[in-house]
């Protein structure tokens, strides 16, 4: 790769983008204008909410005690409010027709025993309606009703009829924000007044006021101001940076690829001496620049606007404390932005390279966002913290690392620096490879525009059947299995598992309806040769034996992998309880053979038919058999519900895929799968006495903590070596049936020979 060419392409693309008003708008103008505008709007709204006067309708004001007085000269007493707020509370005295409400409220609201269920009481509801109407007519936000005289603290007769609690009703309309805010505001004032009233009453009756205080509970926040603002910024800023670096990468990427295809300039560029990798890298650098610029501008613009707005809204919203984002945090963000932008730009560019037009490119943004959003949201969850498990998740790990850096937990950050760096580097590398691959692939660059018509498509599915399924069929089958398994599994989760019969029913229902049915139906309807599609031909005896032995020998290594995965991603919830339930269910089984049949044999046979049969046959249309195997294993893993299980299953899927591709038969796969499943079951259920009495088993499995058996390290390594040997043997097997199109091409190349003599005309 020549860097001068890359630079040339990069500088042209940059200039091109700078001349594009749309790009400039999204990258530069929008963040610079958007946040200040949003801030201004927020300030305005806050202003409106604070400054707006509240109208209050008081019914029965004469019932209030004279001391401490709530109302003085038609206004709330200055004892309970500041002067400014006093002006904002406008009181309306009661009119002549208030008497009727007075009695209505007295009747329906005051006596809780008479109308227990408030909402069910039609009288009470009627009063609500009437009040709502009255409040609207009078243009008031609140209505305060004091139905009965409240005695002055000095004049309370403890034995008289006044002994019951006095009541004040505050009616508000929660459908109107203004009314709700007014109610909250008034409640604070009434509380202050009530407190004074109670204190006075107690004082009058010579009870020390502190008695009702009981024990005062004091809370204090020990976080320093710096720490508090860091905690908040550490959540918001990485998210903003991530979202904008993806968005900022996307639009230039579309213009650089799809736009160039649209204008037809791609062709001329490809016929020039610039190599495709040089073109790809030049464009990638441009996209990265724009992605970083967008993210940075947004970050700074948001941080400064936020600071400004919050400093103006002194009260703060929801008690959130806002300080300046620590300078160090901005620095860490800028450092982390480089790999983030590189990753997102590469993904966006690769996706955009696939699009035929800018319009088509736009459609890819939403799926891309949907895929990356969960990765960005995980770190925002309250429970998320940086550990080995999370540090291995692509984008999330980086965000969590960033968070601990911003919060100043350097020791923790340092600990997981290496895994996060590794994962991020690998992701970036894969994404960049993908971009270069896309630019080298002419099926991507010169995709024919297919006019999509549903009827024609359905017809073509049935008319153009081949002996094995197409790539699309295979994907369709995967999605059908995932969806069906999800729904059947969710439905089954509601059924209480009590006996082995229940377990059998549910397991078989999921397997038969969710896995077997879609693949069998598709094999019969969409292909002409179900036998070949499902790879039902028999295999030789050595192959069958090899598969069984390989399953035994790989088992310890896979178990070790399982426990490794379990330590990295510890299962959530209480597993011991599940284990107990499992034991009782298994206890009700008619025998171990039944457990094996349901838990090992049935899944093995059915899953093989689906994943190594139909799906792998479809994926084998990809030129590269490894791509096919990996893709099928990925879906095989995804079809298992727990992430811990999925990871290990995907590995097993690769082994099974290799067997299937090399032997062209599903029988050895089934043998492997049954053996693997059975061993897992046996290992979890084997009786300790059995092991102790056997000299061989003692060397292979042991029970380090007296709680279930594990393979010994020696056995694991030794058996894995044997397994790898068998795997090598499988890989050396002649693939019996070469793919059809390849043969055709070879034939053509053979008889093409260019002779100079022929060309002389």
């Amino acid at each position: 790769m020549k860097w001068s060419t890359v630079k040339l392409i990069f500088s042209r693309e940059m200039r091109d983008q700078f001349r594009d008003r749309r790009t400039l708008f999204t990258v530069a103008i929008m963040p610079l204008i958007l946040y200040p505008l949003m801030g201004m709007a927020m300030l305005q709204v806050a202003q409106f909410m604070r400054e707006h006067p509240t109208d209050i309708w008081i019914v029965g004001g004469e019932n209030l005690p004279s001391s401490p007085s709530l109302i003085e000269d038609g206004e709330i007493s200055r004892n309970w409010v500041t002067e400014k707020n006093q002006k904002l509370l406008r009181l309306q005295g009661s009119g002549e027709d208030d008497a009727q409400f007075f009695s209505l409220i007295k009747e329906f609201k005051e006596n809780p025993e008479a109308n227990t269920g408030r909402t069910e009481n039609p009288g009470s509801q009627l009063v609500d309606r009437l009040l709502e109407k009255q409040m609207q007519d009078r243009k008031v936000d609140l209505a305060i009703v004091i139905p009965n005289p409240i005695g002055s603290p000095s004049a309370i007769d403890f034995n008289g009829p006044q002994a019951a609690t006095s009541k004040i009703f505050v009616f508000h309309n929660s459908a109107e924000d203004k009314s709700k805010i007014a109610a909250d505001r008034l409640r604070v004032i009434l509380d202050r007044w009530k407190h004074a009233y109670v204190e006075n009453t107690l004082g009058e009756n010579s009870v020390p006021p502190w008695l009702i205080q009981g024990i005062e509970i004091n809370g204090a926040d020990v976080a320093d101001k710096q720490g508090k603002s860091a905690a908040m910024w550490s959540k918001i800023l990485p998210f903003v940076v991530m979202v904008w670096s993806l968005t900022g990468a996307f639009y230039p990427a579309i213009d650089l690829c799809a736009g160039e295809k649209e204008r037809g300039t791609f062709e001329t560029l490809l016929s020039s001496p610039a190599k495709r990798s040089e073109i790809a890298i030049g464009k990638l650098l441009t996209v990265i620049s724009f992605s970083m610029a967008t993210a940075l501008l947004n970050m700074f613009s948001m941080a400064f606007t936020g600071l400004f707005v919050y400093s103006r809204m002194t009260a703060g919203i929801g008690g959130m404390e806002m300080g300046a984002p620590p300078m160090a945090s901005l620095m860490w963000l800028v450092v982390a932005l480089v790999p983030i932008s590189a990753l997102f730009s590469a993904v966006a560019l690769a996706a955009a390279a696939f699009a035929r037009s800018s319009k088509e490119g736009q459609y890819y943004l939403v799926p891309l966002m949907m895929i990356s959003m969960p990765l960005m949201i995980i770190p925002m969850l309250p429970a998320a913290k940086l550990d080995l498990g999370t540090s291995l998740i692509p984008v999330s790990g980086l965000m969590l690392l960033l968070r601990s850096l911003i919060e100043g937990h350097y020791a923790q950050a340092l600990q997981f620096f290496a895994p996060v760096c590794c994962v991020t580097t690998i992701c970036c590398w894969v994404a960049v490879r993908w971009v270069v691959y896309q630019f080298n692939s002419e099926t991507v660059l010169f995709r024919a525009s297919e006019r999509f018509a549903v009827s024609a498509w359905v017809k073509s599915i049935f008319n153009q059947r081949h002996d094995i399924p197409s790539l699309g069929n295979a994907f369709l089958c995967c999605i059908a299995i995932l969806v069906l398994k999800f729904f059947i599994g969710t439905a089954a989760a509601g059924i209480a598992l009590e006996s082995f019969i229940d377990l059998t029913t549910i397991t078989l229902a999921v397997l038969l309806a969710g896995v077997l049915a879609p693949s069998l139906i598709m094999a019969l309807m969409l292909t002409t040769n179900a036998w070949k599609t499902l790879k039902l031909s028999l295999c030789s005896i050595p192959v069958a034996c090899a598969a069984a032995i390989m399953a035994i020998c790989f088992h310890p290594a896979l178990m070790a992998l399982t426990s490794l995965v379990m330590t990295i991603y510890p299962p959530i919830g209480d597993m011991s309880q599940v284990g107990g339930m499992f034991d009782t269910i298994m206890g009700s089984a008619p025998g171990f053979w039944a457990i094996l049949l349901v838990m090992a044999v049935a899944p093995a046979i059915i899953e093989e038919l689906a994943f190594r049969g139909f799906i792998l046959s479809g994926f084998e249309r990809l030129r590269n058999k490894w791509q096919a195997i990996l893709l099928a294993s990925l879906f095989f893993g995804m079809a298992h519900s727990f992430i811990q299980q999925s990871i290990v299953t995907a590995f097993v899927g690769v082994i099974l895929g290799i067997i299937a591709v090399q032997t062209r038969s599903i029988i050895p796969c089934m043998i492997y799968h049954v053996t693997h499943n059975s061993l897992t079951l046996i290992l979890s259920m084997i009786a300790p006495s059995r092991v102790e009495s056997s000299p061989v088993l003692q060397n292979i499995i042991h029970s380090p903590d007296g709680n279930g058996f594990e393979y010994t390290t020696f056995a694991t390594v030794a058996m894995a070596v044997i397994a790898c040997g068998i795997m090598a043997w499988f890989l050396k097997l002649e693939v019996q049936e070469p793919a059809a199109p390849a043969a055709e091409i070879d034939e053509n190349i053979k008889d093409v020979e260019f002779t100079p003599a022929e060309s002389a005309v």
Partner: protein, 256 residues
């Protein structure tokens, strides 16, 4: 010079399988000659020219351009050719001068030579008033001129034109054709596809008539005229295509 031997190209389509756009074509084009590719829409002309300009890889067969094989050394070929594709492939947000210069730089020309060459080209094509005009503000004819200027800036021995005159008015088309003729006189090997029979008749030394990915007839214009006993080249084209479709119907061999 260009030698094409049994060139085949199939497009992979995930839905419909493979589609054969070129079905083993062979022909030769010599320096100083203009070679015309004729054929109805979808005949495979663009596909053939794209393979010659190394934008696409052939499925099988070979093509040798100026001594280099498209399969083995496409990078070398790219220095030898100038390719004008069917849509005036122009970057909207560049001026004519910037665009031509950019391609000159891609071809690794040194600055002085590039400057001189560009002055010469802009002079000859009377494009000096376009120098600082953004391409998005140009008419089709202007764009086509820029496109040709871009293709010849590095003075390649082989030029590939795909429908160079489509969408141009008679005056500009004539100018473009004259340019092509001049380039041929300079000893360049030119291959050229077109739908306009009169310009083919005027310009080309040899032609090939294609349909459905196959060359139906090939040779100098005089040869073909003699072979079919038809003076008017448009009639001739019509006759050739009709004959081939008749033949096709008889054995009823469905295409791939």
């Amino acid at each position: 010079m260009i030698h094409v031997r049994r060139l085949r190209k199939s497009y992979q389509d995930l839905q419909t399988g493979t589609f054969t756009a070129l079905d083993g074509i062979s022909f030769d084009a010599m320096p100083g000659q203009i070679y015309g590719l004729l054929g109805p829409n979808g005949a495979g002309k663009t596909t053939a020219l794209r393979i010659l300009s190394t934008v696409l890889k052939p499925t099988s067969g070979t093509a040798v351009v100026n001594g280099f094989d498209v399969n083995k050394s496409p990078e070398k070929i790219r220095h030898q050719i100038g390719f004008v594709s069917c849509n005036t492939a122009i970057y909207d947000r560049m001026t004519a001068w910037e665009l031509v210069r950019y391609f000159g730089q891609l071809y690794e020309m040194n600055e002085d030579k590039l400057q001189m060459r560009m002055e010469g080209i802009f002079e000859r094509f009377q494009m000096n008033d376009l120098r600082n005009l953004l391409c998005s503000k140009m008419s089709t004819g202007m764009m086509q001129k820029v496109s040709i200027a871009r293709a010849i800036v590095h003075d390649p021995p082989v030029l590939i034109f795909d429908e160079a005159t489509s969408g141009l008015d008679i005056l500009v088309a004539r100018e473009v054709l004259r340019t092509i003729e001049q380039l041929a006189d300079q000893g360049k090997c030119i291959i050229f596809s077109s739908h306009i029979m009169t310009e083919v008749q005027r310009l080309c030394d040899r032609i090939a008539i294609m349909s459905h990915g196959k060359i139906l007839t090939e040779g100098t214009i005089e040869d073909i005229v003699e072979r079919y006993g038809e003076r008017d080249i448009e009639e001739l084209f019509y006759q050739v295509i009709r004959e081939s479709s008749k033949e096709k119907r008889k054995p009823s061999t469905a295409g791939a």
